[in-house]
Every structure is written in structure tokens, then in C-alpha cells.
């Protein structure tokens, strides 16, 4: 197998992890790679918190009347699960960890454009997270992660104000990260790294950064208004004070729908790196994959009111938003077709990142196709606000975004730590995750179609069998998440030394040491090759078959 490193590999004597020592060297670092690791630790912490809430939810739903927690506490569990997972794990996970670590390496730069602002983003994230944890531990939060008014701004008795402030503050972290990425990608590419030689991972992050910058301010303002209404009774959304609760939903979804693309686009970027690497061939339709990332980011801003088909909004608005929602499905479909075609006549290996990538395509496919049901106005009347929706967005966010994140962690783990993870254990974990995930969430599609509403602490007994299946799946899923947490930490010390380019892959990040120097490269690299072009890279030491390819990757698109 290609995975076995040749025996001669040794860790480089000097790299970003051993350049300096001590707690100060980490807390005051401006190295994008160290900041990425700080984010890795903190998003993992929030994933653990969110996961604990999810576990309690699934245990509670084992029986129709639920004996584990009171209705109030159940409502707090699903709310805090959503807030922790969405705002503090999913949104920052791939951009702030993998994006932060890899974008400068991939474009041949020494760091991001604004290293200090990068560190500042992490501290802002911590402050926001602190407020939210304060809310969780002093009364909790029971508004749903959607903070719908006037429930959140008037009627809720839980700690809404600190939570809203926490999410508000955390928004600035996203904005600064997006700004940093855009400036870096525009100004710091190495000689020869043209726009159409950029790895698709970078394109995906460029599209994501656009959403960060344009969308996040809107949610920040919206939550601030809800907070002001709660604290000072200013009437924005409460009809008794002359406000309109539907206005809140428009503002909220204007960000929160594109936020779904913040989660999935970077994962698509990860998949677009993994698939050519483990098929050892150039990606099929480079420009179409890059362009579809931008198309998703742009069209994604014009579909928000499909969350509101049944709020009583004008039927004309509903028709428009349904049509646009169907349109946003097209660029996603284009990506899936291109990934699948990339496999054709490849040299495919069964390494763990590839298992995650193919799992991603399968789960994203189901998540995406069930979106067609929800975008359909007539069908949405029935399945809106049921478990069908819950299953749909978990397929996208967990089946898609989290699979992409975990797959990406495995793929770049040798670069981040200099060591390999244990391959066979990792394959077992990948398959466990896939099976556990489907067993958890597929029954929820059926539950939703049968009419079980979301956010119910108790349910009619006819829904019990499917709920038990879902909980059984969740316990397998939990095991699938615990395994990598354990062996990845183990491999940091005991894993085999990886060498510069264990797979081998074609990206610039693999041309430098593992782990890289603090400055990333000894000399600024010059790019003379097209992306993913295995045929013109003799230094990778692979057997070049067939005629060497001369056309640029996007030449015949």
C-alpha cells in the first residue's frame, strides 16, 4: 500500500510545533498553523458539548413519554445542541481549522494576510463562546437555535440575553476570518499560482468567505435587535409593541440559510482535494466545480424564505423562493456528477480519507435530493417542521459537513502532525460512522413523512419503533466519533512518521516538510504545473502511463 512510509522518514529537526515552547508561545502566536490548532481544540470542545446534548436527546426519545428530563430541560437540550453545534462547531470547523492551516500552504504564502487579526478572531470566538457557556450554565436556553420572536424576545424564561450576545460577538470572528481569507487569496499567491491553478479547496473557501462577510453582519444585527427588545422592550418583532415577528424570520434566514453553505462549501472543497488524490488523476471539470462554489454562494443568498412557506407570506413570494431553491440545487448536482466522473478510469485506493469522501457523496446526495421534496411548495405543506426536515439537514450538516471535516482531518493529519494515523482502525471508524449515521437519521425521514413534528419531548406511541431505531443508530454513531478522537491523539506521539508527501498528492502544501516550518517554505515556491496533474509530475515517483497531458486542466471545458 502507498500508505506504508518508506523506512527512511524522519521528522524535520525544526518545524512550527517545536520552534518555540511554552504557553505564551501558543496564546500569543500569530502563526496560522498554531492558530488552526487552537481552533481545533476549541471546536472539538464545543463538538463534545453539543454531542453530549444530542446523546441525552436520543436517550430521552426512547420512550413516547420520555423519562430522562422534564419538558423544559428537553427544550433546553435541543436548543443548546443546535447553538453549540452550528455557531461554535460547524461554522468555524473547516474554515478556521483546516482553512486556516492550509490556505497559506496551498497558495505558497508564509501566513495569512493579517496574522494578528487571525489571532484576534480566535479570542473573539472564545469570548462569544464564554457568553454562550454562561447562558448554558445559568438557566440554559430554550428558544430553539432559531431564536424565533416573540418567544425569545418576550416569553422565554431562560438565559436568552447572554446567549444572543455570545452569538453576536462570535459573528465578528467569522467576519474577520472571511476578510483575512479573501485578502490572502487575492494578494499572496506564489508566482505561477494563477486563479485557475488554485486548489478547489481554496475556491470553496473564497466562496465561503463571501458569505461570511455579507451574511454575518445581518444575523448579528438581528440578534442584537431581539436582545434589545428583550432587555428594553423596544418594539421590533413583538406585535404588542408594534413590531412584526415575521420580520425577524426574514432577517434571521437571510443569514442562516447561507450559513448552511458556510458549512457545506468548505466540505465540498475538502472532497474536491481527496477524490483526485486517491484516484491519482486530475479532477473532472475543474472550472465547473470552482464556478459552482461561487454560484452556490451567490444563489444561496436568494432562497431564504423557503423556510417560511407557511408563515402566511404572499403566495407570489413563496413561488419565487421555491423556484430559486430549485435553482440552487443545480450547482450542487454539477459537483456530484463531476466527482463521480473523476473516479472513472482512476487508480483508486481504499485509504481512509477516500472512504470519507465517498461516504460524503452518498450522504450529501440523500441530503440534497430530499431538499427537492422540501423546496416543492405542495409537499412542504405536509413535511414542513417535521422530522423530515431534521433528517434532511442532518444529512447535509453531519453527513456532509462533518464527514468532510473528519475526512479532511485524516487527509491532512500527516501534514499537521508529521505522523500517520493507524490506517485499519481509521477505516473501521469511517465505516462505523457511515452505518451509524444512516441508522440514526434515515428513520427520521419516515417519522417526518408520517407527521411527527420537530422539537417534541413526547410523542404518540405509534412513532416509537422508528425512534428506537434512531437512538440505536446514534449509539453506533457516537462510537464512530469517539474512535478518531482517541487514535488521532494517540498518533500524535506514537504514529509512524509520515514524510513530506505520504499519499502522494499534488498540492503545494505537500512540497514542504511535515510538519512545516513556521515560515511554511524554505524558499517561495514557483508553480509551473496545473492542479491535480499527476501525468506531469515525475518528482512524485509514480508510473506515468499513457501520453503525458499537455492541455491545461480547464482547457477544454
Amino acid at each position: 500500500m502507498s500508505l506504508t512510509p518508506s523506512p527512511g522518514h524522519e521528522l524535520p529537526s525544526e518545524h512550527y510545533l517545536n520552534a518555540t515552547y511554552g504557553i505564551r508561545s501558543w496564546l500569543l502566536t500569530t502563526d496560522h498553523k498554531r492558530i488552526a490548532l487552537l481552533y481545533l481544540a476549541s471546536v472539538t470542545f464545543f463538538f463534545f458539548i453539543g454531542g453530549t446534548f444530542a446523546t441525552m436527546i436520543r436517550i430521552h426519545l426512547l420512550t413516547p413519554n420520555g423519562y430522562l428530563v422534564t419538558p423544559e430541560n428537553y427544550n433546553k437540550l435541543f436548543t443548546m445542541h443546535g447553538v453549540a453545534m452550528i455557531f461554535f462547531f460547524l461554522i468555524p470547523s473547516i474554515p478556521a481549522v483546516l482553512g486556516n492551516f492550509l490556505i497559506p500552504l496551498m497558495i505558497g504564502a508564509k501566513d495569512l494576510a493579517f496574522p494578528k487579526i487571525n489571532l484576534l478572531s480566535w479570542y473573539i470566538y472564545l469570548v462569544g463562546g464564554g457568553f454562550v457557556l454562561y447562558s448554558f450554565s445559568t438557566g440554559g436556553l430554550d428558544t430553539g437555535w432559531t431564536f424565533y420572536t416573540p418567544l425569545s424576545s418576550v416569553y422565554s424564561n431562560s438565559a436568552v440575553t447572554p446567549a444572543v450576545l455570545g452569538v453576536f460577538i462570535n459573528g465578528f470572528s467569522s467576519i474577520l476570518t472571511g476578510l483575512n481569507f479573501i485578502v490572502t487569496i487575492h494578494t499572496m499567491r506564489a508566482p505561477g499560482m494563477t486563479w485557475f491553478r488554485l486548489p478547489l479547496f481554496v475556491w470553496a473557501h473564497y466562496a465561503t468567505s463571501i458569505i461570511f462577510i455579507l451574511g454575518t453582519p445581518v444575523i448579528a444585527i438581528t440578534l442584537l435587535l431581539a436582545g434589545l427588545e428583550r432587555m428594553f422592550h423596544l418594539g421590533f418583532f413583538n406585535p404588542v409593541l408594534g413590531g412584526d415577528p415575521i420580520l425577524f424570520q426574514h432577517l434571521f434566514w437571510f443569514y442562516s440559510h447561507p450559513a448552511v453553505y458556510i458549512m457545506i462549501l468548505p466540505a465540498m472543497g475538502v472532497i474536491s482535494e481527496i477524490i483526485p488524490t486517491f484516484s491519482r488523476k486530475t479532477i473532472f471539470g475543474y472550472t465547473f466545480i470552482a464556478g459552482s462554489s461561487i454560484a452556490i454562494a451567490v444563489i444561496g443568498f436568494f432562497v431564504w424564505a423557503h423556510h417560511m412557506f407557511l408563515t402566511g407570506q404572499s403566495p407570489y413570494a413563496a413561488l419565487t423562493f421555491s423556484l430559486l431553491s430549485y435553482l440552487v440545487a443545480i450547482p450542487s448536482a454539477v459537483k456530484v456528477f463531476n466527482w463521480t466522473s473523476t473516479l472513472y478510469k482512476g487508480s483508486i485506493s481504499y485509504d481512509t480519507p477516500m472512504l470519507y469522501a465517498l461516504g460524503f457523496i452518498g450522504l450529501f446526495l440523500i441530503g440534497g435530493l430530499t431538499g427537492l421534496f422540501l423546496a416543492c411548495l405542495g409537499l412542504d405543506i405536509h413535511i414542513h417542521d417535521t422530522y423530515f426536515v431534521v433528517a434532511h439537514f442532518h444529512y447535509i450538516m453531519v453527513g456532509g459537513a462533518v464527514m468532510g471535516y473528519v475526512g479532511g482531518l485524516h487527509f491532512w493529519w500527516p501534514k499537521i502532525t508529521g505522523r500517520l494515523y493507524p490506517e485499519s482502525l481509521a477505516r473501521i471508524a469511517a465505516v462505523t460512522l457511515f452505518v451509524g449515521f444512516n441508522l440514526t437519521f434515515f428513520p427520521q425521514f419516515i417519522l417526518g413523512y408520517l407527521g411527527m413534528p420537530r422539537r417534541y419531548h413526547s410523542y404518540p406511541p405509534e412513532f416509537q419503533v422508528l425512534n428506537v431505531m434512531s437512538t440505536a443508530g446514534a449509539s453506533i454513531l457516537a462510537l464512530g466519533y469517539l474512535l478518531p478522537m482517541i487514535y488521532l491523539v494517540w498518533s500524535m506521539r506514537y504514529g509512524k512518521v509520515a514524510g513530506r508527501n505520504p499519499w502522494p498528492a499534488t498540492g503545494l502544501e505537500w512540497q514542504t516538510d511535515s510538519p512545516p516550518l513556521t515560515e511554511n517554505f524554505d524558499v517561495t515556491p514557483e508553480v509551473t504545473w496545473e492542479p491535480y496533474d499527476y501525468n506531469n509530475r515525475p518528482e512524485l515517483g509514480l508510473a506515468v502511463t499513457g501520453e503525458p497531458s499537455l492541455a491545461p486542466a480547464h482547457g477544454d471545458d
Binding site: T340, L377, I381, R455
Partner: protein
């Protein structure tokens, strides 16, 4: 539904098969193998842009037809008011009969529910009828359905509304028309009649001191108002429906009838949603009264209902 499922299953199976097939067929033969470089194919790209787009448009069209029909209730409906409040549902039949967490309807009639909320956003949902609609404070939403089979069907609150959201449900009882009529008369209560209750409130709240029926008061006569077009001070017109009447009671200065001063005080916080519905029912009943020659503020072209 069947169409979308068929298309989705087709694509899911096709792509999964392709992936599994390629995965095994093109498995790496030796450690230093590489794949055949294929950069793309513009005909294929065009095909998988256009074909899914066409399929998506047909799905959109199918859903749109159902939705537009659902949002536009037929004219001959049996109107029932439903009020959601944390955490119960109150329904009021046209006769004024009230129910809590129960709803009785006859087979074969088009039933329209007019939905109002006392507090937060709720959602009235009957999975067996494939219908639901949000119940939004400050708005009236409507939904309609036509029961076809007698029986008892679950209804739920589908929009998260706080602590006992999951308990805020009940049963729709669909009855044969004769049983329904018997059920209605068996428990009739004259005082519950919303028109009577509304008339009483109209006097209690001193509405009748300004809104004189002959049009000579400080406020426009309400005779013939319901359903008519009202001419406003800014020259525009508005149809006097439930939402307009509600707004005029709670926020009288929002729309001023042409030829009148904005004198009316707000009744925000002084009336429950139920009382507003009673007043509306009473004003509706005035629709049959003759419109005075002057002072109803009704736009001339439309005439009375």
C-alpha cells in the same frame, strides 16, 4: 410526490451504482499506478446542467399548483376560528360553540380555519389531511381542507412555542353532516354566539358612541363595511377584511378613513384575540345592513357586499 421520489431514487441509485462500480473496477493495481488524465467534457457538463434544471422546473410547477390552490380558499367555506395560546387550542364554531383541543367538522364541506395567536408563533397541523399553517401573533392566517372520511385524526402544534409545545395538540373529529348538525345543536349556547358577544362588547367599549349606524357620528358607520373597499385619507383603498378590522381596533392610526379625524384610541392590550374575533363577527353581521348615504368611507365604485 411519486414523481419527485421516482426522480430522486433514480439519481440516488444511478450515482451510488456508478461510485461503487468505479470504486471496485478502478481499484489501484500497483502502488505506483496513476489514473488516466481526463480533464472534462463540455457536452457532459451541458447535459448535467440542463437535464436536472428541466426536471427541477417540473417539480417546481407540480408543487406550485398544489400550493396556490391551498392558499386560495374556495368561497363556500364553513369558517371556524382557531386561537392558539401557550399551550392549548381554542376553536369556535360559526354558531359560537367553543371547544378546547378538539375540532369537530362535517364530511364533505370545505372548512376554512381562521388562525390567531394570543402570544407566540404556533402552527396548526393535521398530518392526515396534509395541511398545516403557522399561527402568528398580529396576523390572521387561514388554511382550508375538505374532510372526506369520518373519523378522529391527530392535530399538532408544529411550530416550537415553549415548554409544553409537544402537549399542544388534540383531535379533529370528522362527522357525517347530520351528526355534526346534531352535535352543534345539542350543545348550543346563546350567549356564546360571537355576534351577540360582539354586540355587547361594542356597547361596553363605547364603540357605538362614535360609529353611529346612520353615518353621522365622529367615526364612519360600519354598516356594509365587511368585504367592501374602504377609501383612505391618503387616497388609496383597502379591502375591509378580518386583518383590516383587527388592525383598525389595535392601531387605529395606521389607516385613516377619508373624511375622518384620527380620534380613536388604541385598544391594544385591552382586548383578547377572542374578543377581537367577536367584534369582527358583529361587524360582519352589519354587512347585511343598508349602507348610509354618507359617511361609511366605502369606495364608491365597489358598492356593498
Amino acid at each position: 410526490m411519486v414523481y419527485i421520489t421516482a426522480v430522486c431514487v433514480f439519481f440516488a441509485v444511478a450515482i451510488t451504482t456508478a461510485i461503487v462500480l468505479f470504486f471496485f473496477k478502478y481499484h489501484r493495481k500497483s502502488a505506483d499506478d496513476i489514473g488516466v488524465p481526463i480533464h472534462g467534457d463540455s457536452r457532459l457538463e451541458a447535459a448535467w446542467l440542463v437535464i436536472p434544471a428541466i426536471l427541477a422546473l417540473t417539480m417546481f410547477a407540480g408543487g406550485a399548483v398544489v400550493y396556490v390552490d391551498y392558499r386560495r380558499a374556495p368561497l363556500d367555506t364553513l369558517d371556524i376560528y382557531v386561537i392558539g395560546k401557550q399551550w392549548m387550542w381554542k376553536a369556535q364554531q360559526p354558531t359560537g360553540l367553543r371547544e378546547i383541543n378538539e375540532l369537530h367538522v362535517p364530511v364533505g364541506r370545505n372548512v376554512k380555519l381562521i388562525l390567531a395567536s394570543e402570544d407566540v408563533i404556533h402552527d396548526f397541523s393535521v398530518p392526515a389531511f396534509r395541511v398545516k399553517m403557522d399561527v402568528v401573533p398580529g396576523h390572521y392566517n387561514t388554511m382550508w381542507f375538505r374532510p372526506t372520511k369520518a373519523g378522529r385524526y391527530h392535530f399538532f402544534c408544529s411550530q416550537y412555542c415553549g415548554t409544553n409545545h409537544a402537549l399542544m395538540g388534540g383531535w379533529v373529529t370528522v362527522m357525517d353532516p347530520s351528526d355534526y348538525a346534531a352535535w352543534l345543536s345539542g350543545s348550543s349556547d346563546a350567549n356564546a354566539n360571537p355576534v351577540v358577544a360582539g354586540e355587547k362588547l361594542f356597547a361596553e367599549k363605547a364603540c357605538n358612541t362614535c360609529h353611529l349606524s346612520d353615518g353621522k357620528g365622529r367615526a364612519p358607520s360600519l354598516n356594509g363595511l365587511y368585504g367592501a373597499k374602504v377609501l383612505l385619507a391618503d387616497g388609496s383603498t383597502v379591502t375591509a377584511d378580518d386583518a383590516y378590522i383587527r388592525e383598525s381596533i389595535l392601531d387605529p392610526k395606521a389607516k385613516i378613513v377619508a373624511g375622518y379625524q384620527p380620534l380613536m384610541p388604541t385598544f391594544q392590550g385591552q382586548l383578547t384575540e377572542e374578543e377581537i374575533l367577536s367584534l369582527t363577527a358583529y361587524i360582519k353581521s352589519l354587512g347585511a345592513q343598508p349602507v348610509p348615504a354618507t359617511g361609511a368611507g366605502i369606495a364608491p365604485a365597489t358598492g356593498k357586499k
